[in-house]
């Protein structure tokens, strides 16, 4: 053979030559977040020390999972987020979900509730019961959990600005069922920092909001030790348009800020850090998502142990809930959303999630119908029961690609932590709009990539169908009568309660706002006095500074 002297026999060089001379598909080989990907990962790309960087399941740094047994011990909790219309309607949906094998409850509230407004507030017009259930007082909370024993279920409530008030309603409802706060289990999202950054349901300015959170952490450490006081959430950051690395970075930066605040308020880090949990998005980039979950566990463990000096291993653990990506769903050919959701759910499970919500196929059109919700729940059950993926813990560990991406995401998050610190910390980065701008930039960049066709979306910019008209699927609509009925209920409540007792409870809150004593206990007392959400929130709006959105465009 001629030219044999120049021909290499090194397999890697041969492969590179083959790759470089081949005709490749004319597409962007990047992650969903726009990160360049190599065609192949080898041991050269993935440097990791098994003991230091991965550890064993249930052991520091928890890269491989927070429990020694993972899904061999117990499957993840299938927790479908639900809430619409009136408390009575959502109570029925909860009972439907429990009857079909769901193992935990998760409450979605409407925008008035999320913003601390009663259903009959002028600003609530048209919003009552629309994106979640309307809860304006303890009476509504009692209806919501009628016939559901609060000592037995665990409940997650997606509520932030007014979270301390809604938790107070829940505690009071449990007490009225004869269940002590010590026995309730569940989570309030209560992650106010990401509200300013992404989800935008706040009550007051960051500083007083953070004080209410430390009051709640301190109250729960003493009275409701099984309650998770904050679910530090990347979900809304991602849905607002961030990349995977930004979701990871901003979420953990927020988490560290809560830890700093708790410590600054005089609490021992191990008295509250074990009750912090997390909530992430699971988007369509299968491997990037799995690596994000693994990186989150490792970063948090290192920070809590090495920087905050936590001694209790529970303080080091990222226990998290996952929801599949609402933004990945399309209004076109909506049945395809079942498939998208299934892949996202698989990523969450391979990433070691503790609980999971799978979206319904019709959510780009309206609230989900019962049929669509059932398919979404069945998607998880098929994953758990038929695919055999729950048998082996962290099955992708050691993959060159997976370890390289896990390292890459950790490094990107660290770079953001440093930048946030240089800019004065999380609160100044919210007030200046830095974090919001970063998210917005990523959202616009992605939208442009879709419109150029660099990122493909089936049914939207490829494989579209001629005459893709309105999809023929049933829609779930909220009857405007819900709003009228809520007005009637609130009128009745205000005319039948002990008005003097309600007034005194509100004044006790006002006094605590001023003298710095713990607000959480006052909220529980006000709940029992049937003060409404709007009345309590109004005292807080009067006593505390308001938040003003920075202009970022």
């Amino acid at each position: 053979m001629s030219g044999a002297a120049e021909t290499t026999t090194d397999p890697r060089a041969l492969w590179e030559e083959a790759l470089n001379s081949a005709k490749l598909r004319d597409v962007d080989f990047t992650t969903l977040s726009g990160e360049e990907l190599k065609a192949l990962y080898t041991s050269e790309d993935a440097s990791f020390d098994e003991e230091r960087d991965l550890g064993m399941p249930g052991q520091f740094p928890f890269t491989r999972g927070v429990h020694p047994t993972m899904y061999r011990g117990r499957l993840w909790t299938m927790r479908q987020f639900a809430g619409f219309g009136s408390a009575a309607q959502t109570n029925e949906r909860f009972k439907f979900l429990l009857a079909h094998g769901q193992t935990g409850l998760s409450v979605a509230f409407d925008f008035p509730t999320l913003m601390g407004r009663d259903s009959d507030d002028e600003l609530s017009l048209g919003e009552v019961g629309q994106v979640g259930v309307a809860i304006s007082s303890l009476a509504d909370m009692e209806t919501l959990f009628d016939g559901i024993p609060l000592g037995e279920v665990s409940t997650s409530m997606t509520i932030n600005g007014p979270a301390p008030i809604l938790l107070a309603f829940y505690i009071a409802a449990a007490e009225n069922q004869g269940v002590a706060p010590e026995a309730i289990r569940g989570t309030v999202q209560n992650d106010i920092l990401k509200e300013y950054q992404a989800q935008h349901a706040w009550l007051v300015a960051p500083e007083p909001a953070l004080r209410m959170i430390t009051d709640m952490m301190s109250y729960c450490a003493e009275r409701a030790p099984q309650w998770n006081t904050i679910s530090i959430s990347g979900y809304h950051i991602r849905e607002a348009g961030s990349t995977a690395a930004q979701e990871l970075a901003f979420t953990l930066a927020n988490g560290m800020e809560y830890v700093r605040r708790g410590v600054a308020a005089g609490m021992d880090v191990d008295s509250f850090a074990p009750r912090l949990s997390f909530f992430f998005d699971s988007h369509l980039d299968f491997f990037e998502e799995i690596c994000k979950f693994r990186a989150a566990r490792r970063i948090w463990a290192r920070k809590l142990r090495d920087e905050f000096g936590a001694k209790d291993p529970k303080s080091w653990m990222v226990r998290f809930h996952t929801q599949t990506a609402g933004v990945s769903l399309t209004a076109q050919q909506p049945e395809n959303n079942i498939v998208r959701t299934a892949y996202e759910a698989l990523a969450a499970v391979l990433g070691g999630t503790q609980s999971l919500h799978t979206n319904s196929m019709d959510e780009t059109l309206s609230l989900p119908t019962e049929k669509a919700v059932k398919i979404a729940l069945r998607t998880q059950q098929i994953l758990a029961e038929e695919t055999e993926v729950a048998n082996v813990i962290d099955p992708l560990a050691g993959s060159y690609f997976v370890e390289a991406q896990t390292n890459r995401l950790e490094a990107e998050a660290e770079a953001y932590f440093q930048e946030i610190e240089e800019r004065g910390g999380v609160v100044p980065c919210i007030e200046s709009g830095f974090i919001q701008s970063e998210i917005h930039r990523s959202a616009v960049k992605y939208q442009r990539a879709v419109e150029r066709g660099d990122k493909r979306v089936v049914g939207v910019n490829c494989y579209t169908e001629e005459g893709d008209g309105p999809p023929e699927i049933d829609l779930h609509r909220i009857d405007p009568a819900v709003e009228r009925e809520q007005h009637r209920r609130l009128g009745e409540l205000r005319s039948t309660r002990d008005e003097k007792g309600a007034g005194e409870a509100l004044e006790a809150i006002r006094a605590a706002c001023r003298d710095g004593s713990n607000l959480q206990a006052r909220f529980v007392a006000a709940a029992h006095a049937y003060c409404t959400l709007g009345e309590i929130a109004q005292v807080l709006r009067e006593e505390f500074d308001q938040y003003k959105e920075p202009k970022i465009l």
């Binding site: 925008f111 008035p112 999320l114 913003m115 407004r117 600003l123 609530s124 017009l125 048209g126 919003e127 629309q130 994106v131 509200e195 989800q199 935008h200 349901a201 849905e239 607002a240 348009g241 933004v327 399309t330 209004a331 076109q332 780009t364 059109l365 309206s366 609230l367 917005h440 959202a443 616009v444 939208q447 879709v450 419109e451 979306v457 049914g459 939207v460 910019n461 309105p470 829609l475 609509r477 909220i478 405007p480 959105e549 202009k551 970022i552 465009l553």
Partner: protein, 141 residues
């Protein structure tokens, strides 16, 4: 091509906090040479109409993903009319069922854009509509 720049107000009525779409569309319209004012979140219909009047915009685009569109969109239209701005090109988008899109389009809204609409299509549509309007204004003048 018209000399005059198209002036647009992007409004978020109600308590809905979803602003990804509104802000993305605002950025894209700006890239297409329009002057864009974004109201920020949690605006009442009156606040949006007031801003539209003060900024003297040609186009008002509303975004809502909370399901309150049938209650709030027509109110914005009424508040605009009350301020002598009933002639703006009124458009909207968000999570809005097709039946509602149809009924709003028959009730003062020029166009509703659903999820998945390319933002450049929105920009082009607005440009074409406004050019027709500017031409009409030119003929009348």
């Amino acid at each position: 091509m018209t000399e005059r720049r198209i002036r647009v107000l992007i409004g978020k009525p109600g308590l809905d906090g979803h602003d990804r779409g509104a802000k993305t569309v605002a950025s894209v319209l700006r890239d297409h040479g329009m002057e864009v004012v974004y109201t920020g979140l949690h605006q009442t219909p009156a606040m949006i109409a007031e801003a539209a009047a003060q900024e003297d915009v040609d186009v008002v685009g509303l975004s809502l993903l909370s399901g309150a569109h049938m209650a709030l969109f027509p109110r914005v239209r009424d508040e605009l009319t009350a301020r002598g701005k009933g002639d703006v090109l009124l458009v909207g988008g968000g999570i809005i069922p097709h039946d509602d899109m149809d009924s709003l389009e028959g009730d003062g809204f020029a166009k509703l854009f659903g999820p998945g609409t390319p933002t450049t299509d929105i920009a082009t549509w607005i440009q074409e509509e406004m050019e027709k309007r500017f031409e009409r204004e030119g003929e009348e003048a």
